[in-house]
Symmetry: C2
Subunit: 492 residues, 2 copies
């Protein structure tokens, strides 16, 4: 059996790295800050993509594809957006390599291939997309435009962590264009709700929906809505954002439309995205000291069956039973894998599938065969039971539903236990340092206070929750009036 | 109604551009050589992706993701591959922009952010992948590795055409690692066959399977297998390639495995890919002077229904009938769109869906309603018929099958009519210039002769067909012995 993981209590950050490695999800590449997403990790991402893509289409969006490169002159057009991303841009300056005259077999950049205008590798695509929408929009009849793109983006981050912060990552970015402010605001909220529903129903990860403060807003947006989740170390993770861009990009790229009355106005915009960062959120929400724990809805393998056998006859008889069950499960849309590899012992396999977070593991030996039974182990609670083979499919199907719900409930309760109202700044400082979690506190609404809190504690305002209680109060730092409590937390 | 297209006979190349534009598939962006794939074009690509992805999975492959950047020192490791792509590489040299001190609001590349090693934007991923496989492979137990990646790649082409040759394009690239030469060769052929089956069964595009000559081989491969299709102007289009890479990349990256007997050897490799170029092939195989023609298997909308109405009552009654039919068709997996937009006249809609290649267009007016009939127009033959509304779903379902077959047969017959055996070089030169098409000719097997033919006629060897007749002969140019006929054609 493989080596034990560092526990969460010992070193949460090291535990995370080991879960990623042991579940074979991804690894660092030899390219600074860029990861390799391995097949098992990618299979989870594919499941996420498929669900999200269907939700985007249900809400009227189509996919399209825009260039990865943004000419510098377009990139700088929306100044706030450009300023926000300028410091982390990979820049293409040349378009050719040539043989190094001094080192046979080696290549150098051909100085004669210097581009007349540098190209930024997209950190986000508003600029290139709005430069394109300009050609598509003349009249209200051309609106709304509801487009999504699945793509890779690059942000030159200095400190990287697999899935959570990488120089290149995969994401989707929706970019919509509307006739009115109201319609764009509705879209912003609609997509934030799509993200929240996905997080809660599929990832089994409860989220708080809310609005960012000015300092945490997307560069170039008028408002940023978000979903925030709590990880098992009490830190927050921003799991998705939906931006109301106002007319900022329309003005930067001069995109106007003629309305029904013949009047011209700038177009209203939104953009919204989730990324492979969700993989990090998924891992940190449910996994335990044995490895990955996956909600059944996103598990590439939902049920794995391990035959326990000494003879080929035993294996044949057990496999026959499992094949029968496999057929029944697959007809119900449940994925099933039989692992009859005889190079590995059952104990090794148990540990392997535990590390990979497979929700249900079945085992059957000659005695089970005789008894008409099968052993069912559930990953979330690490409990086992022997059940009748007859009716096993029904049992498994309802167990998967139960596990999906159980994981959500556990995460929900964990968040509830680690969310606190505080009114004193001293108490806040003490508890955020020693306990962690979400702190609902009054804030005077200024960037200065937010900045002071960040400097004192590293905590930031995660969001102004949409469903907060109506309760005015006094800022815990300055004592100035507060319109309501906001969520402070340390964050990934 | 929109303007008529330039006809194929008038100007094939201009016709192609107009079909792409009129069907709203894609357009040039303001980034040199990069295209924007618009929603309707992307929906076709998505259908292709879905079918191919399922075929890759059926043949045992998993998806994964590798970095877009390749450090120059890795890129140059396999010398032939590096040499083949060096002249068309986008190169990232810096990782930051900063404010231009001389131009407020403008950005410049920060010279202090120069990378210590330049990064090549992947033109293909063998280098980065084999550098990764090195860490994954020790023993025969780690083999085979059967991985595919869906990604964007960049090749700095000087002359670009939408879908056919663009600086950035979307593709899939399979990269596999094997214990033996035999196994790798089998994989190379298996995937070439997967491409051929996809092209013929889904794209309705007949292809010739064969092997490339030395000069047309992928840089870094020992053999390149391919599928070649004939476009309506008689030119060839390479629609997919599958490469037997021998041990070239394993040697360049020092990837060895220990076999069952404990001996060490370099790993054997394949790679294979198809790209958004297939969109160009699809367009040029079937489309006509009215616009795009799509095989039903890849049409995002298979059936469109246009109600002909003067009153809201008529529209309501017709819509009710169409809704009934829509339900029945969707239950059979047939996509259906009702276009009841009353801002557009039926004639405009007919032309629009014709340009977009929707296979079947239905129309129903008050008279049809009274008669219990519906008009069915098929895009491939541009014929119409009135059929009983009862049983329409059956009729449509079998008509879609018939159209799929009809498009293949037409393309197959066209290719047969435009494939010629020639033995005289004078005849070859005359006919390839005036008639176009595929020419089966004897060739002495040398690069010199191939080069001469290319210089004289612009024709190249498209492939050495796998199923060619056994027939030795004399090279049409040099009279030297030939092992069999190869296919010459001008190509995209």
């Amino acid at each position: 059996m493989a080596q034990k993981l560092t526990t969460r209590a010992e070193n949460y950050s090291e535990w995370y790295n080991e879960v990623v490695a042991k579940a074979d999800l991804a690894e660092h590449s030899d390219v600074r800050g860029c990861m390799v997403i391995k097949p098992y990790g990618y299979a989870i991402w594919e499941k996420m993509k498929d669900v999200l893509d269907a939700k985007f289409k249900e809400t009227g969006h189509s996919n399209a594809y825009f260039p990865i490169f943004i000419p510098k002159s377009l990139f700088e057009a929306e100044e706030k957006n450009a300023e926000g991303f300028a410091k982390e841009c990979a820049v293409v300056t040349h378009h050719r390599l040539k043989n190094d005259p001094d080192n046979p077999g080696k290549l150098i950049v051909d100085p004669e291939s210097k581009l007349t205008e540098e190209l930024v590798v997209r950190p986000t695509s508003e600029a290139i997309i709005w430069n394109t929408y300009k050609k598509w929009i003349q009249s209200y009849r051309d609106l709304p435009i509801l487009i999504n793109q699945w793509a890779n983006v690059v942000r030159w981050e200095m400190r990287t962590r697999i899935f959570l912060r990488t120089a290149e990552f995969l994401w989707q970015e929706g970019h919509t264009a509307h006739q009115s402010k109201q319609e764009a605001l509705e879209e912003t909220e609609r997509m934030n709700n799509v993200y929240a529903a996905f997080a809660e129903e599929y990832m089994a990860m409860p989220v708080v929906k809310g609005m960012k403060s000015d300092s945490e807003r997307f560069a170039g947006a008028d408002e940023t809505y978000c979903i925030e989740a709590m990880m098992q170390d009490g830190k927050a993770l921003q799991a998705g954002t939906s931006h109301f861009l106002g007319q900022n990009f329309a003005k930067a790229f001069d995109v106007k439309f003629t309305d029904k009355e013949g009047k011209q106005d700038y177009v209203w915009a939104t953009s919204w995205g989730v990324s492979t960062r969700l993989m990090g959120a998924l891992i940190m929400t449910h996994s335990d000291d044995e490895g990955l724990v996956l909600p059944p809805a996103l598990a590439p393998i939902q049920v794995v069956a391990v035959p326990i056998f000494r003879s080929d006859e035993d294996l044949a008889a057990i496999s026959e039973k499992f094949d029968e069950l496999a057929k029944e499960l697959r007809s119900r849309g449940i994925s099933f894998k039989l692992d009859d590899d005889d190079n590995r012992r059952p104990g090794w396999k148990f540990a392997e599938y535990e590390a990979k977070g497979v929700p249900i593991r079945l085992a059957m030996g000659p005695r089970d065969l005789g008894n008409g039974s099968v052993e069912v182990a559930r990953r979330d609670e690490k409990t086992k039971e022997i059940i009748d083979f007859d009716g096993a499919a029904d049992h498994i199907e309802s167990l998967l539903d139960e596990m999906q719900k159980n994981l959500f409930d556990k995460a929900f309760n964990f968040r509830a236990e680690n969310t606190h109202k505080v009114d004193s700044y001293d108490e806040f400082k003490e508890r955020i340092e020693n306990e962690g979690g979400f702190f609902l506190a009054h804030w005077d609404g200024t960037e200065e206070t937010e900045q002071k809190i960040k400097e004192d504690t590293k905590a930031t305002i995660r969001c102004i929750p949409f469903d907060r209680e109506e309760e005015t109060g006094e800022c815990m730092v300055t004592g100035k009036p507060s319109a309501g409590r906001v969520i402070f937390a340390k964050a990934y």
